[in-house]
Every structure is written in structure tokens, then in C-alpha cells.
């Protein structure tokens, strides 16, 4: 790891101005839990000269609050706080499930939700400092024709890495809003719009500017009859990134699905919202056959790489199962 300066401002104005000093976003970086940033620094994938610790910034917090309008979660809330918060467990099960299935207890005690959704991909070509890759500014993607068993099955970006955050998929499925603060003030972006496929001009996975910070997340109050679930397939029972994850939130009113949001993780560089599935679910009566067809629909556009065709089967199965779980009779 290269030497760096460490600053611990108490005001978000100071933090934002320090971030704003850095025009290309590489030299001054915010630090929260550090569980991803430090690994990137140790691998020499990023080499900031200054870290701005956000833990003392008074405008940032780890509060989790349920109100009549819904749930607010401060950006500094840890995954451990989220997985164990009774209101999240009770009303936003997909998020609690996603948080609880991430990493290990030690990591979840450190990792913040704000940092979690901003994790960089785990692609082993991206993470190896000796290998040039498109996402790191190179010309081409070595994974596309390489060791790609863990990589994307949908091909909408020059990058075939997959988004590593379990919680990101859950936040989209729960229709969360991301509250963002920049030098010019606050803005709100839906979680579905917060993530963006990397492009030649913008080789990152979110729309967050280098001089912006996540303040927190707002989740609407759950509708009557809604349930949510997060399912995750891993190479072993725990402590692994998702091969495929699926977050589903379904509202059933009078025996009919009146709202559904379904999001796949682990299948492309950002969580993939399944709009076509959601539209077909709307107005349908829950059934095993319906959910099997939704599983098929979820992967109809999949273009697996040489080693990851199995992830198509996995995504199909998990979507079907998540919808069944989210609509199963209670108890």
C-alpha cells in the first residue's frame, strides 16, 4: 500500500470540498468502513493520496428510523445493524436477508450500507494489479474469453464483471431512494437509477459524482400485502460473493399480484431489474406455473460466456423460488 494522508473532518462541507479538490476522483477518496477501499489500495488498484474519514461528519449517521412514510437508513449504518434491526427484519426482509448473507460477522460489523452499494467488482482480472483490463482503463476485457465462471451473463457493457453488493439488489427491489449530497446541495435518485452500466466515458458502476457523498436511503412504507425476500447462491455455504442473487418484493391484494419488483444480482456489472417480469406479474394470480414462466423470462436475453452457462440455470431457478417464497402463505 502506498503512503496516504488521513483526514477526519466533522463537517460535510469540509469533506465535500476536500473531495472537490480532486478533479479526477482518484486522489482523494472518502473512507467509511474501509472493507473494500483498503483492499483496493493494498492491491494497488487505487492509490489515493488522501483519505477523508466520514465517521465524524455530523451530517452523516448510522440511524435507522421507521416513520409513517417509511424507513430511513443513514449511510454509515453497518450491515450488522441492518440485518438485526427489527423493523427491517419485519418489513423489509429482502434487505435484512441481503445484509445478513454478506461476508462474515466481522466484515458486517465494519461495512457500511453506503460503502456496500459502492463496492467495486470482485472480478479477478480487475483485482490483479498485473493485469490490464477495460474497467481499469485498458483496451479490452481479459475475462470475456478467459476464466469467466463468475462473470456476467447479460452483455450490455464492455465490462463482464458483476456487481458484488447483495444489498444493492434489495434496495432496488424495495424501491429505495438514495439521498446524495454534493457541493451544490442535495439530490435524490431512485436506487434503480443510481446504478449505471460502465461506459467508455464513465468506467464506474454508479452515477455518484467523485465530489458527492451518499447521505442515506429512504424506503417507502411497505404496502399492505407486500412481502420481500433475498435469495443468494454461493460456492459454499457462507462468506462468498453471490454467484447469483435475487431480490423480490411482491404485493398481493385479494389474491392478485398488484405490484412486483424483481432484481437479479451477480449477472452483470450492476443489479439487473427485471421490468418485463414485473409487468407480467402485475395483475396475475400467483402460481407455481406463473413463477416458472417468470424464471424463464428472467433469463431470456442471457448471453452466457464460455464458462458461466450454469448461472443462467441458477438465475432461472432463484427467480422462480424467490417469487414463490414472497407469495407463499404466511407461517
Amino acid at each position: 500500500m502506498r503512503p496516504f494522508a488521513y483526514e477526519r473532518p466533522e463537517s460535510i462541507t469540509v469533506a465535500l470540498s476536500r473531495l472537490g479538490d480532486d478533479v479526477d476522483g482518484a486522489a482523494v477518496r472518502p473512507l467509511a468502513g474501509g472493507t473494500d477501499l483498503l483492499t483496493l489500495m493494498k492491491a494497488d488498484i487505487v492509490a489515493p493520496h488522501t483519505l477523508i474519514d466520514l465517521k465524524r461528519v455530523v451530517e452523516l449517521d448510522d440511524r435507522i428510523e421507521m416513520t409513517a412514510e417509511g424507513m430511513t437508513i443513514g449511510a454509515l449504518a453497518t450491515l450488522a445493524q441492518i440485518e438485526s434491526h427489527p423493523d427491517i427484519v419485519g418489513s423489509y426482509a429482502a434487505l435484512a436477508g441481503a445484509a445478513s448473507q454478506a461476508a462474515t460477522p466481522q466484515l458486517r460489523n465494519m461495512a457500511t450500507i453506503g460503502g456496500n452499494v459502492l463496492q467495486r467488482p470482485r472480478c479477478w482480472y480487475f483485482r490483479d494489479p498485473q493485469i490490464s483490463c477495460w474497467l481499469k482503463g485498458g483496451d479490452s476485457c481479459p475475462a470475456r474469453d478467459g476464466e469467466n465462471a463468475h462473470h456476467a451473463i447479460f452483455q450490455d457493457s464492455p465490462c463482464v464483471a458483476v456487481h458484488p453488493s447483495d444489498s444493492a439488489a434489495a434496495l432496488i427491489a424495495l424501491d429505495a431512494t438514495v439521498r446524495i449530497r454534493g457541493a451544490s446541495g442535495e439530490r435524490a435518485v431512485s436506487a434503480g437509477q443510481f446504478f449505471a452500466l460502465p461506459t467508455d466515458e464513465h468506467r464506474l458502476e454508479s452515477v455518484l459524482g467523485p465530489d458527492e457523498l451518499i447521505l442515506g436511503f429512504t424506503l417507502p412504507a411497505p404496502a399492505a400485502g407486500s412481502r420481500s425476500v433475498y435469495l443468494k447462491a454461493m460456492d459454499r455455504k457462507t462468506w462468498a460473493f453471490a454467484l447469483v442473487g435475487v431480490a423480490a418484493s411482491v404485493t398481493v391484494t385479494g389474491g392478485t399480484i398488484t405490484d412486483a419488483r424483481v432484481v437479479l444480482g451477480g449477472v452483470e456489472p450492476i443489479p439487473r431489474r427485471l421490468i418485463a417480469v414485473e409487468e407480467l406479474l402485475h395483475g396475475s394470480v400467483p402460481s407455481d406455473d406463473l413463477f416458472r414462466r417468470m424464471g424463464e423470462l428472467a433469463v431470456v436475453d442471457a448471453q452466457p460466456l464460455s464458462q458461466n452457462g450454469y448461472k443462467v440455470d441458477l438465475a432461472r431457478a432463484l427467480v422462480t423460488r424467490a417469487l414463490a417464497d414472497a407469495t407463499a402463505p404466511a407461517g
Binding site: D128, Q130, D235, R236, A240, L243, Y310, L314, A317
Partner: protein, 770 residues
Amino acid sequence: MSATMDVKIEDGKLALTEHEGVDGWDASTPMTAVGQPATRLEGIEKVTGSARYSYDVRLPGQLYAAVLRSPHPHARITRIDTSRAEALPGVHAVISSANTPQIPWFEDSFVFDTTVRYVGDEVAAVAAVSDDVAADALGLIEVEYERLPHVTELEAAIRPDAPKLRDSGNIAGEPTVYDRGDAVAAMAGADVVIDAVFTTQAAIHNSLEPHGCTVAWEGDELTVWASTQSVFTIREDVASGLGIPEHKVRVIKHHMGGGFGAKQVAWKNDIIAPLLAKRAGRPVQLMLDRHAENLASGNRPPTRQHVRFGARSDGTLVAIWADIHIGNGAYQVGGEASNVSGMYQSLYRCDDVHTESRTVLMNTGPAVAFRAPGHVESAWVIEQVMDELARRLDLDPVEIRRRNYSPIDQVEDKPYSLPDGLAYCYDRVTADFGWANPAPPAVAGSKRRGRGFAAHDWAAGSGHPPAYAFAKLNPDGGIDLVTGTQDIGTGTRTGLAQLAAEELGIGVDQVRVQLGDTASGPYSPVSSGSSTMASIGPAVRGAVADVRQQLLRLAAVKMEVAAERLTIVDGRISVIGTTDQSMTIAEVMEDVAPANLLGRGARGPNPSDVSIRTFGAQCVEVEVDTETGEVTVLRVSTAHDIGRIINPALVDSQIHGGITQGIGFALTEERVVDHRLGMVMNANLEEYKIPTMLDVPPISHAHVDVPDSVANITGAKGVGEPPLIPTAPAIANAIFDAVGIRVHDAPISRQRMLTLLAEHGQSAAPEVAR
């Protein structure tokens, strides 16, 4: 009986045979200390963090070393310039081929060779005031490489047009061929033949503590605190590499965080650290980080095994034929060979057997013994083929093995020391598991359950001479036991203390065990092959028996009875059969204090008329989710003929650890190489997935615990390696039982399981082997 030394000339050379001088324990010998679950002597040190490992050594002025490794799988170094690194403040020494004598290491190569043969090969090394400065200095070393063609894939490396690692080609030496009878001719008489190709993956040992050492020179004497399975091997190789006498090198190893075979040879770090320390004039610590550990300190080599097994319709084998390729990596580093052929020749009775095995060089990190080298790889194949034969012939998988039982070692043509050893395992494990009971419901939704069985033998496990121990009886009745063996985390200290306590008739807490130091302990062999206790245990008994004999002479004079009439129980010396006259050991010794009684023990020869092996068998139950490919191991039962159990708690620990590694080998562990780049993609603990606690089911160890009184005077054999051997094929057989799919290629990852489920259709009928 008393200790003796036989000297004669055999084949024109001196042959030395020593004897322990004490009768063997048999099954009826009453035991007090041996057989008890004594707590590890170093347990408190370990759980409180005070146990000192090689990494924990801190000496005045100590420097920290880092190694520059080749980024290329195959290249010639055309220029090295270390001047910028040397100029960095805090750097005390930089060594490379440019400024270091060519010290031979690994076959025909050198410690710093000008040809690098895999990504991770050593190019240069730095010693600096901190790890960070050393790492920075590595970045300042300029190296120019001339790239050479590379090959990192086993199947590609054996093609005629493959890039060559050596002028002689990529097959190392001559093929190892074994013939008993005529397998090809006999195969024609089989009612059923299984002809199939299986592969096993490269697996990484991933010891919690990586390889490394801390070294210090005092004048011309060198001390090495090494993380090693053999202090004497390190001493010999380091002394030889440096060109100094062995007694000038002292190797110490107090505690170790795992070796699993990879630490049984001296690696380049063991010689680089002393070279840096000499140059810097300061102590140097060189511990590998996880990346280097997983690239450059050994692996279980990948194999390709093409086999034919022929059987009669009653299940008896008529012929076994195997063509084996072992992907050795760039160098042959020595130590235990990966004997993939062995179990084909020995596990089942068969008159006509042919095996041939080729060791293949390729541009990957060198292979080294990994817990049951060769046997884990061949068990994957043999035990799946036996399962397949049973299914084809509609036989129970255990029954077909009983029908092919061999009470003799067919290679050595000698009876086994315990001819029923494997049969005991069959009996115990099937009873423990409930193999004969009806299987529980096999289907629930998308989930299918299945049960699998596998057996094994293990060639080592009986130990061998030479191995020595000293015992010193102190005036207060306590014993200092000194040997040159090492405790590699298995509990050797504790087991030896139990043997000593048993021999003298005292408590385990009256024994201090001093080991892991070449300067104080007499020679003891490498801790490999599951042979440590069986090698050094008899010597310990001999040393303590020597002390006991002297003590009884003193007691006999003091108590005015013949020494032959005396015994020692619970530290009290008394006349056999009476209770009226007794003295403690200390009461006898106090008259002569501070005199000590010194005992010497030497490991006796193994019997020449029998073959000593260990055996085992496992039953597992798994659940396969046919929609998600998730495999869950639900339970494991295991039984092992390991001779006498000296400490059941420590033996159970070995069983649990071995089966855990077996589950990893079966399901998740695999080194992934990008063959275009020649680079390992998962030289870390994130993408190389060892099992977590949640991956390991309840494990039931059905103790066999039959002393092998023929093997040695303790009756104990070894347990380190055996529990790992049958686990992966037992899991594969259970998966076949569950979903009817025969998995030829290890590991059974999510990717492989789902791919096979898709190929076969999720409710496929049982497949016949290809």
C-alpha cells in the same frame, strides 16, 4: 529385553540396527495415561495467544524481507538493476542473481536462476526496516525479461508441440510402470469393464501460518526459527546451501500453524533469509504473504487418470489398468512422492494389475506432498469405479469391496501386520452410519438425498528408524523428555508425554517435552506420512524404560528387594502384589540428589515379514438441490485402523480436520489458472474457497482402536493423512446415489454440478460410465 545395537555389513555398507529394549504393549496391557483424552500441553498457550510461532520472533535490529517474483510464466532474465532499491532509505540488503553466488536448488536450477519458470518464481529479495519499505524497494528493482513460450495446462503440456520446460521435454524422467500379471489379457475375461477418464484439480494447502522463517547470525553460527515439518531437513539443506557444517546451523520450531505436507522440504525462503541476514549483518524475518504462499510454496498436483477395471458378474476384480499423468509444475522439490499408482495396486485383491504414471512439467508453481499425496487423487477414481461396478452388478457398495478383500500386501507379497484392519473399518463405519437401515425419503421438492461409501489404504503410518529420544529423571520425580522431532500442530507433544507417563508410571503433568530444536534434540525424521508418533513414540518408550530400569536399581537397594519385584504406579514404587512397602520416586531420588538418571532411546527396526498399513472407510449422506446445484453434506461417519489410539481427543481433531479438507477438495477447492496468461487467478482466500464451519456437517468417528502390536512397541500407527483420503469419492458416490450423475472431474463445484444436471436432465436415469 534391553537396548542393543547391532552392527553388520550389508551390501558392502555398514548397517546399524538399534532396539528400544522394552517389550511391546499389546491389547491386554493395562493403560492409565495412554488412551486418555489428555488436554494439549500447549493448549493454553495457543488459546491465549502466547504460543510463539516463527512469525512472532522479534530480535534486536531485526529486518523484514520481501521477495520479487516473476510476473511471467516462462522467461529469461536479461538484466537486473537493483541500484534504486539499494538506495531507498531503510533498505539494508538486496540480493539477486546479479550479486549472489549460484546456489543449486530444485533439480538443475539455482536459488536465483536466470530462467524463471512460473509466475511467482523467485527473482530477487530485499531486507529492510519494515515490510512496507521492503515492498516499496521491490518496486524499484528493474528487471528485463525475454519472454519464452509457456504451458500451464496438464493436457496441453503433454502434447508433442508443447513449449518445453527442459530440453528433455515435459515428462520428468522415465514413466513409472508397474505390472502384476497381465492386466490387458485378463481384462478380456471380465463380464463387465469400466473404462473412464477422471481428473483431479490442483489444490492449495493453505496452512493458516504461511511458510517462512526468522534467522540470526552470531559469528559463524546461524539460528533459523522455521515454520517446518522437519527441523533436520532445514538444517541439512541450509548448511549445504551455505557451504557450512551442520552443527553451525540451529533450527528451531516451537509451534506451527499447519503444514499439510508443504513444509516437509526446505524452500527458497529458508536460504534467502540467511543470505540477506549475512549481507545486512542483522537478523531477518522472511514470511510469505498469502499470495506468495498460494503461488510458490507447493500444491497438490492436478491429475488425469484413464482407467479400466474389469470384474466378473459376482463382483470380483479380474484386472485393473491405469494410465496416470501428474501435473507436477515447474520443479520437482523432493519430499514424499505423489504416488497416485499405489492404491490401484494394493487396495483390492487383483492378480492382474498394470499402472503407468508420468510426471509432467509445466509453468506453474511446483507441487509438493499434500496430506496423503497421490492417495487422495487415486481414491477419487478407484472408489467411484468400485461404486459404479457395484451398481452395474446390482451389488451393495460395501459388499463388492468385501468380495475383493486382500489381507496381504500384494505388492510386497507379505501379510499385513493387522490383516483384518480394513474389515474392522467396514464393520464399524457401516454400523455407526446405519448403512444397513433403510434410507430415509430421498426426494423432497427439488432436493434429492443420497448415501455414499468409500474406503482407502495408506502406505505409510507405521514410522521407521532412525529416531532418538533422551529422558532425564529429575530428583523431584519429574521427567524432561528431549527429542528432535517436531509438533506440527497435531498434538505430538501431548502424545509423547502420555507415552512417557505410561512407561514410568507417573502422571502426564510430571513430563515436560522438549522438541523442535536441532541443537538440543537428537535426530528425528521429518513429520510426514502420518509417521511421527510411530517413529518417535517407540524411541520415547525406550528412553523412559532406560530411566525406569536405573530407578528400580536404586529403589531395589534402598528397599532391599530385587528390582524385578518392583513396580511403579501413580509415581509410587512398590513390591508387586503388596501394599505395605512403597516409596515415591522423589523419596528414592532425594538420597542421591542432585543426581539425574539419564535414559536413551532409539527406534527399533520394523518387522521384515509383514507390511504395515493403515486403512479406513467412510459413509456420507448428501443432499443435492437439482434446481440450484447446491450440494450439502449432511453427515459423515468414519472408521480407521490406525492401531492403538494414544489420545482420542487429538485423534478426533485429526479426523475432523482431514474430513473438512476432504469436503473442500470434493466441492470447492481448486487453483484456477488463466492458461493464456499463465497466471493463477485465485492465489488468495477469497476466490480459493476452503470450507467454512457451515460447510462441515456432524462427523462421527467410530473408533476401531485395535493395537497393532506387530507394527511397533506402542501399537499405534498414524492418523494424520487417512481421514482425508476417502471423503471426496464418498461424497461423489452419494451424489450419484442422489441424482444418478457420475462426476468424473473434481471439484464438484456449483458450476460443474449445474452443468451436469443440465446435461442429464434433472431426473436423469443413472448414467453408465463413459
